[in-house]
């Protein structure tokens, strides 16, 4: 469904993503793991069509990514990106105006669950409330590919449970769910596959069940193996 073919992105002298090839199939939840600056966000932004690769291509449903792919690919950035003048209700209206797969009912349901109201101004939201709003508006889309970049950042433990429930609810056999996070243990409970990114390279791509069966280790253990005991990359 979503395929990265030797994708590279160079910013000035820094290679953020270096020849990454991987294929994401529908019906699975993928955890994209790696420390800060490893290239996860850059790859996701390329898959969302926000950043152009320096070389290589990303294909969606057998074709190179194009404008119309955005109709079926939902991306949630880790940074806030709504217009300053917007209220929570305006964000929903905006998505409804541009995405035919957006459900206002589902959005309202998710807002209720996240304890957000439509009259709140987005510029006055706390980081936790903003994170919930981004999740609500993204998950209210019935997109074929959903990519969530650090969805649990700035969110307390109880709210994390609500968010993980909302995420798991959207799993279906025709959808790809890709989640990046530093919170490896949180993702271990929901993900089927782990994509390890290290310094722009694909360090490993493993099915979690197979990892447990063949190596007898958890994702967190594998993470430590790849990036070092402290979770940081070591040469």
């Amino acid at each position: 469904m979503l395929e990265s073919k030797e994708v590279t992105k160079v910013f000035g002298r820094k290679t953020a993503v270096d020849h990454i090839s991987l294929k994401l199939d529908p019906g699975h939840i993928y955890a994209m793991l790696g420390p800060n600056g490893s290239g996860k966000t850059t790859w996701m932004k390329m898959a969302a069509g926000l950043i152009k690769p320096t070389s290589g291509e990303i294909w969606y449903n057998g074709h190179p990514l194009e404008i119309n792919s955005r109709r079926e690919i939902a991306y949630m950035s880790t940074e806030p990106y709504f217009y300053n003048w917007m209220r929570v209700s305006d964000v929903g209206k905006y998505y409804q105006d541009f995405f035919s797969d957006f459900s206002m009912d589902r959005y309202k349901e998710l807002l209720d669950r996240m304890e957000l109201t439509g009259d709140l101004k987005t510029r006055s939201l706390s980081s936790g409330m903003m994170a919930k709003l981004k999740i609500a508006v993204t998950m209210a889309r019935d997109a074929r590919v959903i990519m969530l970049d650090e969805p649990l950042n700035g969110i307390d433990l109880l709210a994390r449970d609500q968010i993980m429930t909302s995420i798991v609810e959207t799993v279906s056999s025709d959808r790809v769910l890709l989640i990046s996070s530093h919170l490896v243990e949180e993702l271990e409970t929901v993900a089927d596959y782990a994509v390890f990114i290290r310094q722009g390279h694909l360090a490993d791509f493993r099915e979690l069940e197979e990892l447990r069966m063949t190596e007898g280790i958890s994702v967190a253990d594998k993470y430590r193996q790849i990036y070092g005991a402290g979770g940081e990359y070591h040469e």
């Binding site: 910013f11 926000l50 950043i51 404008i67 792919s69 990106y81 709504f82 217009y83 003048w85």
Partner: protein, 247 residues
């Protein structure tokens, strides 16, 4: 496209309301002068309205370029570029919204000027003097200009086309900064130089257009050239965004 235009309008609503409020204040000063038969407030009102019209129209154009810059350099860019709209459509919506806003603002200021001058004619005998001064002012720009409604309207149309052309070149400068010059030292300065160079070149080409007997025909030809320039630079800018832009 309509939805993109709607949100472009919403983004620039606040500055437009400020211009409207400032215009309302000077209009009140003018009306107090006319009805109270005070000379100073009348002339202060006229000057204020002329300034509000010129500054307002110019600001609406500049605001559009600033909004594009903000839309390309902040995280708000995701709001535009996550949607299934091509760069040409996004840029086209910006240009159309801005052109429409300038046109509506022009009609608003033109209508207000007509109303105020009509009022002055009825209330005061000084109108003939003001009309004569307007005539002199127009003829100082071009000896073929006279205070005829048709010429006045065509002149406004030409100015609108010229402003749209300059705004589209401004879009190109912004997009150059964010694409081929992105991350390079002095990118904004180089883009400004490109903007100035293109503007000078267009001015040079416009001067080469042979003068015609009819001022209306000359103005219409200039309008068409400005529109053509706008289309050419719109296509170049859209292509750059489509091929090179990362937000």
């Amino acid at each position: 496209m309509n939805k993109l235009i709607k949100y472009e309008f919403r983004k620039s609503l606040f500055p437009k309301l400020v211009i409207l409020a400032a215009t309302a204040v000077v209009e009140i000063v003018y009306l107090v002068g006319v009805f109270g038969e005070y000379e100073n407030p009348t002339f202060a009102g006229i000057l204020g309205l002329v300034f509000a019209a010129v500054a307002g129209l110019t600001y609406i154009g500049i605001e559009s370029i600033v909004t594009l810059y903000r839309d390309l350099t902040t995280k708000q860019s995701y709001m535009l570029f996550m949607t299934p709209n091509s760069s040409y459509k996004i840029l086209g919506a910006k240009a159309l919204e801005n052109g429409l806003s300038i046109l509506l603002a022009g009609l608003f200021f033109g209508g207000l000027a007509y109303f105020d001058l009509d009022l002055l004619e009825k209330e005061r005998s000084t109108f003939a003097l003001i009309k004569e001064q307007l005539e002199n002012m127009l003829q100082s720009i071009d000896s073929r200009l006279s205070f005829s409604t048709a010429t006045f309207l065509i002149l406004l149309f030409m100015l609108l086309c010229s402003l749209i052309g300059r705004i589209v070149i401004g879009y190109l400068a912004v997009v150059l900064t964010c694409t081929v010059l992105s991350g390079k030292k002095g990118a904004a300065f180089i883009s400004l130089l490109v903007y100035i160079a293109i503007s000078i070149l267009i001015g040079f080409l416009m001067d080469k257009i042979p003068a015609m007997d009819s001022i209306n025909s000359s103005l219409l030809i200039q309008s068409c050239i400005y529109l053509g320039i706008s289309i050419v630079f719109y296509v170049i800018t859209g292509w750059l965004m489509d091929k090179k832009l990362s937000v």
